[in-house]
């Protein structure tokens, strides 16, 4: 065999040797391609596996941890939440609309594959700065693509985050998260078992789109990538809506043994993974797979990533029930083979065997690499911040307005207005507060959802940055009245073969793991996306945290909006003046450096428990996490949401700018009725959490006095216009 054949499918000579050892012979071209896609980083996690073992993945409420199509966590009443996040970065860099749309489509399938009805979508998006047409084009079309898919299929897009930084220019990050609700008894697994059971492919016919997408996702982006559009799939949300309804109807019949979405690596991964999980083999004939194009050769059918397809393992003799349900919905369903007990994936074409390989070797036996890691040299220079050389701006009103208009902080209304966030009529808290809240019909419960990551912190200190991402996500849920339950992680990094990048990866996972342990939020699913690099640079390490929390009583749903004139504004947590890595330093001083804010996980845990206790007691009228832009921005946001002003006072002997705009962690702003302040202090005292009365909700202006001097005095209406219009103004 031509030596280059294995390189063409993305394998190394060592990996090729391993394949020859497994088979005891040389693979034919089809077999080699199957190994190529299955042993890509995207499918095999060969570079990340050893590191991911650091994550805590079990807990009292965990019903399904990593390793399935999605994770599942118990919420009581026989119900559970199914969740997963996934990246679609490279496709979105090349073809933003379809890349983002199919990202949403893929993650939705992962959820209903488990038997759950998807109830919410979230996303985490990063782009370069909005100062050039290419970035605006990517931003505009990614948003349109997510909306186009979610709106049509009728699953609300209820939350997410959007950040802008030059490190993402050329390699945007598009992570999509989906959450579903399921009864415990309805949980389905991606398992093929029982020799003789039918292997059926259902949904859309197969075409040549998305050929080798998994391998495409496992290399860096360059000029050539732009030509690689055939590796990007094309989405059809209408088809997926039919597939979703048909699948859920089918599962009710009880004839389904196992089911798996055809995602990355298409039929190859679905067949080998289900067989491997069930300790089985599978004998399939590609000629029986419905096509939408003529002339496709077997290898194309096996690795096509055509969307909106599922592999269903059906009890022998009940195939017609499947056909009945799918015909009703106007969809294809075809028996393409049978489960076997020999552990072998046999691929046929018109009956003739064209490939025979151990299913397990494809799905689970990719080599595992313990990559070299080393602290990158850039860190030394950027850690040090010489604050004395930074002038304190004279006009802090101007600084606040500038921060509120910075696209990373400004209202994302321009984005979420394009997403149907209300369909399904469960959205109790829409986009724009700390977390979205979805009520669970038929119960008195709700779930709170968020995605979070400050990648600048991770760039400056991936360990602490990773921990902060977890802590902040949990804090957002707590501010909404929810107890954090579990995490799905979207780990976006550069090329893991570079020791500096791998060091960032290890550090981030380690920091996240520690935070997950302390905050009792196990990681139950996730995705790793490496090779987020262009010719010139890698993205900031961006471990996106998707988190779900449980609101036991919908009466406890809390938002960031100030509610009533005269309410007292209280800070829970220690105030600080840490400016390192802040949005303030970047926007006002043009610096992305310094020490990231300190995070003490025990303090964080106490703060969160305390806030939940206060909310449970019914006295908290609003709660808001202090994050990007610091105290001043947090106050402004609560004013805007509530349409009310505030009068606030701080003492300090330090820098006023750092006090107002620094991003010290573990701080929550709450409001209470005046008469309940003492009661609040009593409860807070039990948790050993610092508490500080800052001022009150009042009038139509935000007025902040620092060390006796009035530094901020702005009309809430002006603040709002500036904050709400910033992104729209850039884009239109």
């Amino acid at each position: 065999m031509d030596k280059k054949a294995y390189e063409k499918v993305g394998l190394t000579s060592g990996e090729y040797g391993r394949i020859v050892d497994i088979l005891g012979r040389q693979p034919n071209n089809l077999e080699l391609n199957l190994y190529g896609v299955m042993w890509s980083e995207h499918c095999s996690y060969k570079n990340s596996k050893p590191v991911l073992r650091m994550f805590p993945t079990s807990g009292q409420r965990v019903l399904q941890g990593p390793g399935e199509n999605a994770g599942i966590v118990d919420i009581g009443d026989g119900l559970a939440v199914v969740m997963k996040i996934e990246s679609h970065n490279h496709p979105s860099a090349v073809e933003p609309y379809q890349g983002a749309a199919t990202g949403a489509g893929g993650i939705i399938r992962d959820i209903f594959t488990m038997g759950a009805r998807p109830v919410a979508l979230l996303n985490s998006l990063r782009f370069g700065e909005l100062d050039n047409d290419r970035t605006k084009y990517l931003f505009e079309n990614v948003v349109a693509g997510i909306g186009g898919y979610g709106n049509c299929i009728g699953i609300p897009t209820v939350g997410g985050e959007v950040y802008f930084n030059d490190c993402y220019k050329g390699n945007p990050l598009v992570n999509a998260m989906c959450v579903g609700i399921i009864r415990h008894k309805d949980i389905k697994k991606g398992t093929a078992s029982g020799a003789g059971n039918a292997v059926m492919i259902v949904g859309a016919p197969t075409g040549r789109d998305g050929m080798g997408g998994a391998s495409f996702a496992s290399t860096e982006l360059n000029q050539e990538s732009q030509e690689n559009r055939s590796a990007v799939q094309v989405g059809d949300p209408f088809m997926e809506k039919l597939l979703l309804e048909a699948c859920l109807e089918l599962f009710d019949t009880g004839c389904v043994i196992g089911v798996q979405d055809l995602g990355a690596a298409g039929l190859t991964s679905a067949s080998s993974e289900t067989a491997s999980r069930g300790g089985s083999g599978m004998d399939i004939d590609v000629d029986l797979v419905p096509r939408r194009e003529t002339g496709m050769i077997p290898v194309e059918v096996m690795i096509s990533e055509s969307q909106e397809r599922m592999l269903v393992i059906v009890e022998k003799g009940r195939e017609e029930e499947v056909t009945g349900v799918f015909e009703k919905w106007g969809l294809h369903s075809s028996v393409i083979g049978r489960v076997t007990d020999d552990g072998i994936l046999t691929v046929r074409d018109k009956g003739q065997v064209v490939g025979r390989l151990p299913a397990k070797s494809l799905a689970d036996e990719a080599p595992v690499y313990h990559r070299e890691y080393k602290e990158p040299s850039y860190l030394e220079q950027i850690r040090v911040l010489d604050a004395d050389r930074l002038e304190i701006p004279a006009d802090l009103n101007g600084v606040l307005m500038k921060l509120l208009a910075s696209p990373s902080i400004a209202s994302k209304e321009w984005v979420y207005r394009q997403y149907d966030h209300m369909v399904m009529t469960n959205t109790a808290v829409a986009p724009g507060s700390d977390a979205a809240v979805i009520r669970i019909r038929g119960t008195n419960k709700a779930i709170a959802l968020t995605t979070d990551c400050n990648s600048r912190y991770c760039y400056l200190n991936p360990g602490v940055g990773g921990a902060i991402a977890i802590a902040e996500a949990a804090r957002n849920l707590v501010c909404s009245g929810a107890r954090p339950l579990a995490v799905t992680d979207g780990l976006n990094f550069g090329n893991p073969e570079k020791p500096g990048v791998f060091w960032q990866f290890r550090q981030a996972v380690s920091g996240m793991s520690e935070a997950c342990r302390v905050l009792d939020t196990p990681v139950i699913s996730g995705n790793v996306s490496f090779y987020n690099e262009t010719d010139t640079h890698a993205v900031f390490p961006t471990p996106v945290v998707g988190m779900v929390g449980l609101v036991e009583n919908t009466a406890n749903i809390t938002t960031q909006a100030f509610k009533d004139e005269g309410d007292i504004i209280v800070l829970l947590g220690k105030n600080g003046e840490e400016a390192g890595g802040s949005e303030y330093l970047k926007v006002v001083h043009g610096l992305e450096k310094g020490s990231v804010p300190n995070l003490n996980l025990d303090e964080e845990k106490r703060l969160q428990d305390c806030c939940l206790e206060l909310i449970d007691s019914g006295m908290v009228k609003s709660a808001h996490d202090c994050s990007e832009g610091g105290m001043a921005v947090a106050l402004a946001e609560s004013c805007i949401s509530g349409g009310l002003g505030a009068e606030v006072e701080f003492e300090t002997c330090g820098r006023k700018d750092f006090l107002l705009f620094g991003e010290t962690q573990s701080r929550i702003l709450v409001t209470v009725e005046k008469g309940k302040l003492e009661q609040l202090k009593n409860i807070v005292g039990r948790f050993d959490v610092p508490v500080l009365e800052l001022g009150r909700v009042k009038g139509e202006k935000l007025e902040i006095t620092v060390a006796g001097q009035k530094e901020i005095g702005l009309d809430v209406r002006d603040i709002e216009t500036n904050w709400r219009g910033a992104i729209k103004c850039i884009m239109e």
């Binding site: 299929i153 009728g154 809506k241 039919l242 369909v423 009529t425 469960n426």
Partner: protein
């Protein structure tokens, strides 16, 4: 008294409408599959929102050829109430039950937001519990809600009181700024000449409960119940 909610392939507000009628208002409600022909035992038909047939070709253009639509036409012509919400409105215009057409939003983007509606005709099965010129806060979620109709038809629609809702601001002023999608004359909902068929882009079924932060939709669905119970229509 029975409500029917039609399911076209790709309708995605089916459950929302069903839930609003059955669970929130306690009405007898059933789903109607798009292949159904017999609508005899229904008293009111709801064409829900969504993307029927993917909205490929043109919104509502394929759904109008569904077998059920022949029966819906008959049902409407017999004078029984039919309401089309969002995609359902688009289907009704495509089917010729309502005048005009719904074009792409003026800004070419999908819009999901709360808007305000001024009720201009309370003499319908769908608005009889509204006070005159009542302002309702109801969400929209559509990419093609830009209502258009030719001058002559518009004139006769005005004469016949067929414009039921217009987009307005919170105070009830019908202004350009309050128009989310470029609709002619801020038109958000229209009825047929007889008044028994209503199409509206906003979604009343999405604002029926306190936990969702808005209950303004109740008055519309309750008006339907009131009408079917033989309630008096405002004069």
């Amino acid at each position: 008294m029975k409500f029917g909610v039609v399911i076209f392939p790709g309708s995605n507000c089916v459950t929302d409408c069903y839930y609003a009628l059955r669970d929130v208002l306690g009405q007898d409600t059933e789903y109607i599959w798009h292949g159904t022909k017999d609508l005899n035992y229904f008293d009111c038909i709801v064409l829900p929102g969504g993307f029927s047939y993917g909205d490929y070709l043109r919104c509502g253009a394929i759904a109008r050829f569904s077998p059920v639509m022949d029966s819906v036409l008959e049902f409407a012509h017999s004078g029984k109430p039919v309401i089309g919400i969002c995609n359902g409105f688009q289907v009704l215009t495509e089917a010729g039950l309502l005048p005009g057409a719904l074009l792409r939003n003026k800004n070419m983007k999908f819009i999901c937001d709360n808007v305000f509606l001024k009720t201009e005709n309370t003499n319908t099965p769908f608005t009889n519990l509204c006070s005159g010129e009542q302002v309702l806060k109801i969400p929209v979620a559509h990419g093609d809600g830009n209502y258009y109709v030719d001058d002559e038809t518009l004139k006769s629609m005005k004469e016949n009181n067929q414009i039921v809702f217009r987009y307005c601001d919170a105070q009830g002023h019908v202004t350009d700024k309050a128009n989310p999608n470029g609709s002619l004359g801020n038109i958000a909902g229209v009825c047929n000449r007889e008044g028994n068929v209503l199409g509206m882009m906003p979604h009343p079924e999405r604002c029926m409960e306190k936990i969702l932060g808005n209950e303004d939709g109740i008055v519309i669905l309750k008006s339907m119940v009131n009408y079917l119970k033989g309630g008096v229509i405002n004069g």
